[in-house]
């Protein structure tokens, strides 16, 4: 591979560069430039009354790292994202496998249906969850109506509700990522396993699952990053009880007008996610080797 790259003529490389140039420019404009602004903002100072003063100060970072709540929020974010992503994976995997395999002529339609929630505003879906999980929602009505419980069970406005809502919102992305990765799943391998005497569940464990590991790795990564940055679902389903990095950044920026704190926390989150992704990549690469 590297040998071929070395042989690649200069002109070919220039053509390649020219082809990705628009994307690079766009990325620079919509990502890099604001990121630099964010980086600069984090070093400004905030006075005791909330007034922001241009400065080159580490004060915001210092108070960020001195606040034990930062660690707590970090843990909340990572753990909740992990659980929600895992839940989305467990729920999406059978669906994606079915969509991958089905010979039905409605396959495209079914795939569109599976990812259709993406077409609906997150806010609308959240209110759907509230109608289902609320104190007067469908589930509590059923529980109390059947006499199983006397008081409403708190299913929402807490970590449970946010995890569930987040997992649901991640599912379409997980399904798409899995479907993309399932391209490497060779039906003949599963059939070979069957002819060699493996019953269906053994085929799944020994062949299907290992062969779809790259898809799982990809889907998990994508959804975890999405979960870490999710804001609307935790905000609306959290009931003010769920404290995550994304909601903290929002509160700093939009409620408190404390931009340096928001910027510092955003940078901290970015670095955290990058580190987690790098660790994840290293881990999966080692596992593959």
């Amino acid at each position: 591979m590297s040998g071929r790259q070395r042989e690649q003529p200069l002109r070919g490389r220039l053509t390649g560069l020219a082809l990705i140039a628009p994307a690079l420019v766009l990325l620079g404009a919509i990502y890099l430039w604001p990121m630099l602004g964010l980086g600069r903002m984090a070093f400004n100072e905030t006075g005791s009354t909330g007034a922001m003063a241009p400065a080159l100060s580490l004060a915001t970072f210092r108070s960020l790292f001195e606040d034990p709540f930062t660690l707590e929020t970090t843990w909340n974010s990572v753990w909740l994202s992990f659980v929600a992503t895992l839940l989305a994976l467990v729920l999406a995997y059978p669906l994606a496998l079915f969509l991958h395999r089905t010979q039905s002529r409605f396959r495209s339609l079914l795939t569109v249906l599976a990812v259709a929630p993406m077409l609906v505003s997150g806010v609308v879906r959240v209110f759907g969850w509230l109608a289902l999980l609320g104190d007067r929602g469908l589930i509590n009505a059923a529980l109390m109506g059947s006499g199983l419980t006397a008081q409403p069970t708190r299913l929402v406005y807490n970590y449970f509700g946010v995890t569930l809502g987040l997992a649901e919102s991640l599912m379409p992305y997980m399904i798409l990522a899995l479907l993309a990765g399932f391209g490497r799943l060779d039906r003949a391998c599963e059939e070979a396993a069957a002819t060699l005497g493996a019953p269906p569940w053994r085929v799944f464990l020994r062949v299907t699952l290992p062969l779809t590991v790259p898809a799982i790795v990809l889907g998990f990564l994508l959804c975890f990053v999405l979960a870490m940055s999710a804001y609307i679902t935790p905000k609306l389903l959290g009931g003010g009880r769920v404290f995550l990095l994304a909601t903290e950044i929002f509160d700093h920026a939009i409620t408190n007008a404390n931009w340096p704190a928001a910027a510092a926390l955003a940078l901290y989150t970015l670095v955290l996610v990058l580190l987690l992704v790098a660790a994840y990549a290293a881990l999966t690469r080692r596992a593959e080797a």
Partner: protein, 368 residues
């Protein structure tokens, strides 16, 4: 099949569960489409049978039904006299070698070969011993730790074969197993598979669209066409006495010439022609000849009891192992195959084509 006694003892030791496979009016329909229609076939213990036909003729579907990968629409499959039609694939004990090999890419060669033994609960030491034996059978000793992607196509093919054989299957099923190899490797593997199959005495079904493969590998050939079996016979019969126009066309090269029926008999290019075989009732007829069964002779050669057709040499085509001579005749252009040795008629020469009535086959003309 006659085999030396020693070889037979050997094969009995290796394959305790040799079997006998019967297909009884096996059919498969997909909605309105008939993929396989009423295929009946009986395979003797240790016999190797080829399912030969063009793509889409239903041969792979038949094989997959035997393996249990597809449920038949009708008919039955029996192994050793036991109906296995409703038995799921994993309890059929069939060795299946896939066209793509379908090796498990995440497992080593040894793990691939040992897969079926694991599923049968074979203990570790026993498994390792049998895996090693199977790998040495296919001459892959020393590669057991490799991953499939690190092997050549031929090596992958051998792993697939070892994996299917190590479970001591009742029937070995090979699905176009040589089609992914290059021509030279294919010839070598063909012989290797044949030797292995013979020495193990394992009942084998080959699916192939390659007539050479079918003719060289198998005791019998079932030629399939549009979901049906057109003819089941040994290779020589299939080649020399094709039962249908389709078989004649599909297997081997043919010269096809229009032939007319007159009160006196058949007329080819204005001359009477004889056949030793029955002639169909149909009005429109065609005459089939094998190009290598036609002799080239001088223009005035007397044919005697043989058939003769005069013509002029148009051109030569040298194909390496043979020379094809194109001759224009009253009945049409005829390709004659000769060894190319000795004096050969030159373009423009007048020649006679001479062949035996027993090599003369007449079929109804295909509908236009």
């Amino acid at each position: 099949m006659e085999q030396p006694l020693a070889a037979r003892n050997h094969q009995c030791a290796l394959t305790r569960r040799m079997s006998h496979l019967t297909l009884n009016r096996l059919s498969k329909r997909y909605g309105e489409t008939v993929a396989v229609a009423d295929v009946s076939l009986s395979v003797a213990r240790g016999e190797s049978v080829a399912l030969l036909g063009p793509s889409g003729c239903g041969k792979t579907t038949t094989l997959r039904m035997i393996a249990g990968l597809i449920q038949p629409s009708a008919g039955a499959i029996e192994v050793l006299g036991v109906d296995v039609t409703q038995v799921p694939a994993h309890r059929r004990n069939m060795g299946y070698v896939f066209q793509s090999y379908a090796l498990f890419p995440h497992m080593s060669v040894a793990a691939n070969v040992g897969f079926g033994l694991d599923e049968r609960g074979v203990g570790r030491s026993e498994r390792d011993r049998r895996v090693a034996a199977a790998l040495s059978q296919v001459r892959l000793e020393g590669l057991s730790a490799r991953k499939p992607r690190e092997l050549s196509g031929g090596q992958q093919q051998r792993v697939a074969l070892a994996r299917a054989l190590v479970i001591e299957p009742d029937v070995l099923l090979l699905d176009e197993s040589l089609s992914n190899l290059d021509a030279r490797l294919r010839d070598a593997m063909r012989l290797e598979i044949r030797d292995l199959q013979r020495s193990l005495g394992i009942t084998t079904l080959f699916v192939t669209h390659d007539q050479t493969e079918a003719l060289t590998l198998c005791d019998r050939i079932a030629v399939m066409h549009a979901g049906r079996v057109e003819q089941i016979a040994d290779p020589v019969t299939i080649y020399e006495r094709p039962a249908s126009r389709f078989v004649a066309e599909f297997v081997g090269r043919s010269v096809v010439l229009p032939v007319e029926r007159s009160e006196a008999g058949l007329v080819l290019g204005g001359r009477p022609v004889r056949t030793a075989h029955p002639v169909p009732e149909s009005r429109a007829l065609e005459l089939f000849l094998r190009p290598q069964r036609i002799a080239l002779a001088g223009p005035e050669t007397e044919a005697g009891a043989h058939n003769r057709l005069g013509g002029v040499v148009r051109s030569h085509v040298f194909v390496g192992d043979r020379l094809e001579v194109l001759v224009d005749t009253q009945a049409g252009r005829v390709t004659v195959e000769t060894s190319g040795a000795g004096a050969v008629a030159q373009p423009g020469d007048a020649v006679s084509l001479i062949w035996s009535p027993s090599d003369t086959l007449v079929f109804a003309r295909a509908a236009p």
